[in-house]
């Protein structure tokens, strides 16, 4: 039976204003920097990133990355000259795409600010006036580099250093777009800020760099969504996200990733929580060919807290290698990790996590729970947790289960008139309920709809 169609697989016949030739070299990096009219500092940082990218090997643990052809990727594609601040200023075809994706409509209903990125650049950015007046900065990262250079330099690369891994080095070399958010002391942004990332060009790479700084006592929720057209050639998404939560701040970062099945999604996301800060990562992975992503939190201040919810749906020919990492570096820190994955139609879902307590992190508490559902005999599930404890009075618990959908649950639903596939979809939606309840209502409905679509026609006779 056919796998259901990916509804975002359309593409636009938009001619880019500028595109670097395929492949990555030092000249390409210089060209990207020149196109953006950047300072010498950023150009030199990019070049250091490039040098490290060339030295570091591609990891062989995790998913199979051996088929990525780095020379076939285009590392910078620009569709417009500069970001618009109203939808009427956005070129028609691009605006139509985002309307099909529901972005402007959702901005009106749910969000305090929205950024929309199309290939390598942000094409639209807007923040509500009242937040602007309170000193909240929500702009694209390229603009932030120019308008707030001191603030930018203070934090850029401090949580994810250039040489952290091969893909953070690649991102440092050719980053473009992404969100920059600064929330001043004591300001609580009541409605979420949203960014939407869309790849349109064939064989494109998208390397957004997001930097969120929540000053003392502030509160912000950031949501991002991502989709791409379905091509027969591969695309690469290697983003870096750095979050800094100062004393007593609260940041929730939600991602619903629904890339098409030709996208390699290799992302480094890390947050640093200072004293009393609270970081939440809500990470939903529904799409892509291969995802390798492990949202992390460094609990660096006394009493810091982290909650990580990682959800993955691995269908036909997909490998979701996801998880979470928490490093406790200070006393009285607490973290919770909940990971849920569903594998069906031959898909593979792997949980990879680290729970570490370093010396001095007295009375640290960590709880990790991983649940995996296997829907058929063709699919696969793996769990690779790592627990490292260097303090006697820390308390760490980890548990994981892997099983198929309960026959009792299926029988109960079948006896109420649901078909086997409808019943399986309902069970999976219920399994993902912890993710759905963190989202705005319409998003939660959309998520359940997406899960249902993905689950259709997967039951193997």
């Amino acid at each position: 039976m056919k796998h259901s169609a990916y509804q975002y697989g359309f593409h636009d016949s938009v001619r880019p204003l500028y595109r670097v030739p395929h492949g990555l070299s030092e000249d390409t990096v210089r060209e990207i920097s020149a196109q953006k009219n950047e300072s010498a500092w950023m150009r030199d940082t990019r070049l250091r990133g490039y040098a490290l990218f060339r030295k570091k090997p591609i990891p062989t643990w995790g998913a199979d990355l051996s088929h990525i052809d780095f020379d076939a990727i285009s590392y910078y594609v620009r569709a417009t000259d500069k970001p618009a601040h109203t939808w009427s200023e956005v070129p028609k075809k691009i605006k139509t795409t985002f309307e099909r994706l529901g972005v402007p409509q959702n901005e009106r209903k749910f969000f305090a600010g929205v950024g929309a990125q199309y290939d390598s650049e942000v094409v639209y950015h807007h923040i509500r006036k009242d937040l602007d007046k309170q000193g909240v900065i929500f702009t694209d990262t390229d603009t932030a580099l120019k308008q707030y250079p001191e603030l930018f330099k203070k934090y850029f690369g401090t949580v994810v250093p250039i040489g952290d891994n091969v893909f953070s080095a690649l991102n440092t070399a050719c980053w473009s777009g992404g969100s920059f958010i600064y929330v001043p002391k004591g300001v609580k942004v009541k409605l979420p800020l949203q960014a939407y990332f869309r790849i349109n060009e064939k064989r494109a790479g998208q390397f957004e760099r997001t930097l969120i700084i929540a000053d003392e006592g502030s509160d912000v929720h950031y949501i991002e969504g991502c989709t791409a057209p379905t091509y027969s050639t591969d695309a690469l998404h290697a983003a870096v996200v750095e979050v800094i939560a100062h004393k007593g701040a609260h940041v929730r970062y939600t991602t619903i990733q629904n890339w098409s099945s030709n996208v390699y999604n290799l992302v480094t996301k890390r947050a640093r929580a200072e004293e009393g800060a609270f970081i939440e990562w809500v990470d939903g992975n529904l799409g892509s060919k291969i995802t390798m992503k492990y949202p992390s939190v460094l609990l660096a201040g006394r009493g810091a807290r982290a909650d990580i919810l990682s959800v993955a749906l691995a269908g036909k020919k997909q490998h979701q290698d996801t998880g979470a990492k928490v490093i406790h570096m200070a006393p009285d820190t607490v973290s919770n990790i909940l990971s849920k994955s569903v594998s069906f139609g031959g898909g593979r879902a792997s949980y990879r996590g680290v729970a570490q307590v370093v010396k001095g992190a007295h009375r640290a508490k960590i709880k990790v729970r991983c649940d995996a559902l296997l829907c058929d005999a063709r699919s696969r599930s793996d769990t690779y947790p790592t627990i490292k404890v260097e303090e006697q009075d820390a308390r760490i618990e980890h548990e994981a289960t892997v099983s198929r959908i309960s026959d009792k649950e299926l029988f109960y639903l079948a006896s109420r008139g649901f078909s086997e596939t409808e019943a399986a979809s309902l069970v999976v939606s219920g399994f993902f309920e912890p993710l759905a309840k963190t989202l705005p209502f319409d998003y939660a409905i959309e998520l359940n709809r997406l899960i249902r679509m993905e689950m259709e026609n997967t039951k193997q006779k």
Binding site: S381, D382, V389, E391, D393
Partner: protein, 199 residues
């Protein structure tokens, strides 16, 4: 009353007891089970322990099972790097690992276990439990229980924990007149009690 030996002979059960004296510095044990064979490996490390231990069990035979029960008590500067691999290569197989380590002084334990259920290992069940009791500020524990499951009708689970003796339990003993020095050995024995009774 059946003796252990007669039980083993009748039901094809192989029970292997190994102490740290038998293990030496680098311990290796590879076992492949036949159909309907049940293997139980009971290992005890006290006062000394191997620097490295590599146990690989392949459940090749249908309806076979294996269980590993390991008590590791680390004192002074004892260090062990333990790796256990359980491969389910046939249907209706079962495996379990119960590992408990009590780390005193500057002891360090590194424990990794992988349970791999292959595609044809229908109706397999596997369970890995790894727990570390930290009895000193200088002790270090590294636990890594991995699962790889390639069939949807297997049941796999694992659990791991690390922590010091419960304050509640310590208080209970102190309130009954035991000093802290006397309480710790009691709590350590209680920690090991459930897997010792499995053995």
């Amino acid at each position: 009353m059946k003796t252990v030996k007669s039980l083993a002979q009748k039901e094809n059960v192989r029970i292997i007891h190994i102490t740290s004296r038998d293990m030496g510095v680098a311990f290796k044990k590879h076992i492949a089970t036949q159909a309907h064979e049940h293997v139980r490996l009971i290992l005890v490390c006290e006062k000394t322990a191997p620097k490295t231990a590599d146990i690989a069990i392949t459940l090749k035979g249908k309806n076979s099972s294996a269980s590993v029960i390991w008590v590791w008590r680390g004192t002074k500067t004892m260090r062990s790097d333990i790796a256990i691999s359980l491969v389910h290569a046939a249907p209706h197989t079962a495996s379990s690992v119960h590992f408990k380590a009590a780390c005193e002084d500057a002891a360090r334990i590194s424990f990794t276990a992988l349970a791999h259920v292959q595609k044809n290992a229908h109706d397999a069940t596997t369970c890995i439990n790894a727990h570390a009791l930290m009895l000193s500020p200088s002790a270090i524990a590294f636990l890594k229980p991995d699962l790889e499951v390639e069939t949807d009708d297997a049941q796999a689970r694992h659990g791991a924990s690390a922590g010091k003796p419960s304050d509640t339990e310590l208080f209970y003993l102190r309130s009954r007149g035991f000093s802290e020095k006397e309480s710790i050995p009691l709590l350590r024995e209680a920690f090991f009690h459930d897997i010792v009774s499995l053995a």
